[in-house]
């Protein structure tokens, strides 16, 4: 191609430049291809994590074990099929360089994993614990993928929305205690994030999520309030502790 432009004697610097630019071109092509693969993996992680979340919403006090077992199996599949693809792509500085390409998927995975864990044990799945489950994906030839604090916290913020949906549904099934437990849990997460959120790298996203989170907390609180004041009429009217009334009306449907 140098021949085409004439190739006179002065062109050595010009050909040095061409050579350098062909390297830059290679670099940009590789980077773009990798980014595209990472975006695709992220979309798959998102889609499959969302499915897990929906599964968990099918949970009630009778099918709990079964539903959660299935959900955990599906989460493991997400790791092995899709997060593994991230591990294979992301090396060295890529973790941060391509963060925007994979962040949505990782956040959704965090949301799904923490939701499962809460439903199972009532506690928050820590970042360290979540990262430990990713270690088995490792191949000696790759650096381990570790979810960063920011994506974890952003995922956690979304978790509260799912917990709100769960709480409203649980009240309907008479699982008041679970609803109250969720309420306490979500309040605590909100309280913790209140202190941390403005310290995050770019806090504008998180600010919106904090507002939504407060809305979720208040929806749960209002539901608990409403169950409580309604339940308060029970004692004065009947005067005895009939257990069939104690968990709101629906309890007798699902037995």
């Amino acid at each position: 191609s140098d021949a085409a432009t004439g190739g006179d004697s002065e062109s050595s610097s010009s050909s040095l430049m061409k050579e350098a630019f062909s390297q830059y071109a290679q670099y940009l092509n590789d980077l773009n291809d990798k980014r595209e693969r990472v975006v695709k993996a992220s979309r798959d992680i998102t889609m499959n994590s969302k499915k897990v979340i929906f599964q968990v919403h099918r949970l009630n006090k009778y099918n709990k074990g079964e539903v959660l077992e299935k959900a955990e199996k599906d989460l493991a599949a997400v790791r092995e099929q899709h997060i593994l693809r991230l591990v294979q792509e992301l090396q060295g500085t890529d973790f941060w360089k391509l963060r925007r390409a994979y962040s949505p998927g990782v956040q959704e995975y965090v949301e799904a994993a923490t939701l499962c864990n809460f439903c199972k044990g009532g506690t928050l799945l820590n970042l360290d614990e979540i990262n430990a489950t990713l270690l088995p994906l490792n191949d000696p030839s790759f650096e381990p993928l570790q979810i960063n604090v920011l994506d974890y916290l952003l995922g956690l913020a979304d978790l509260t929305g799912e917990l709100m949906r769960l709480a409203i549904g649980r009240i309907s099934d008479g699982e008041l205690e679970l609803a109250e437990k969720i309420c306490k849990f979500v309040r605590e997460i909100y309280r913790m994030l209140t202190v941390i959120a403005p310290e995050m790298d770019d806090s504008s996203d998180m600010k919106t999520k904090m507002d939504t989170m407060l809305q979720s907390v208040m929806k749960i609180e209002n539901a608990c309030f409403s169950v409580h004041v309604r339940g308060s009429e029970y004692v004065p009217l009947l005067g005895s502790a009939d257990p069939s009334y104690s968990l709101l009306g629906v309890s007798d449907f699902d037995q």
Binding site: K50, K51, F54, H57, R58, R165, I168, G169, I171, S172, A223, S226, R230, G231, E233, Y234, L237, L238, Y245, L248, G249, V250, D252, F253
Partner: protein, 223 residues
Amino acid sequence: EKLEKQFEDFRNQLEDYGTLRERIRTVATEIESTTRLMYSYLLLVHQTRPIPEVLEKAKGQINVLRELFSRLAEIILECPGQYYRYHGDWRSEMQTVVSLLAFMHWLETGTLLLHTEAEEKLGLNSSEFGLDVEDYLIGICFMSNELPRYVVNQVTTGDYDCPCKVLKFLTDLHASFRMLNLRNDFLRKKFDGMKYDLRRVEEVYYDVKIRGLATNEGSNGDK
């Protein structure tokens, strides 16, 4: 020349589409107007008019709807395969229709109007011009939104067995919806709202129950 020719063709095509669309909008507006009328009849159940009387008036409009949908289908079928091209122009009306039919069906039978039943009532032929499943599901969510209000007003007029009946229905319906994998879209949002309908009905049921107002339904082993 060739360039102008092509754009001239496009212009004609687009104008034809525009005309088609206008025809669709005209029918959609009539559907909307008919549903408004049906809805204003059905509203009378909140004022405790006898259900058969209310239903009769509303049912009178179903034929009008069938007729309108057959006109709509005819228009759409002029362009085979383009059902979804114009879908946005009448889907919200369709959803309202579903919600009304399902409410009437429930008032009459106590069961959910299924997708195929809805198509049947409207005279739709699903292979040609059917009822989109998402529209159907959204319509069902709209119907669910009417139920708490219905229950409250029924209790006010002394029908204390209504909450139990509605609660059973809504619990089953909600459980069925939970089988679906919803994306974060309009349907998901509507479904999320169904939870609140359920809770409100429960509360009314509870109010009635603790006061011992519900009649025999406790005795026959409820559900």
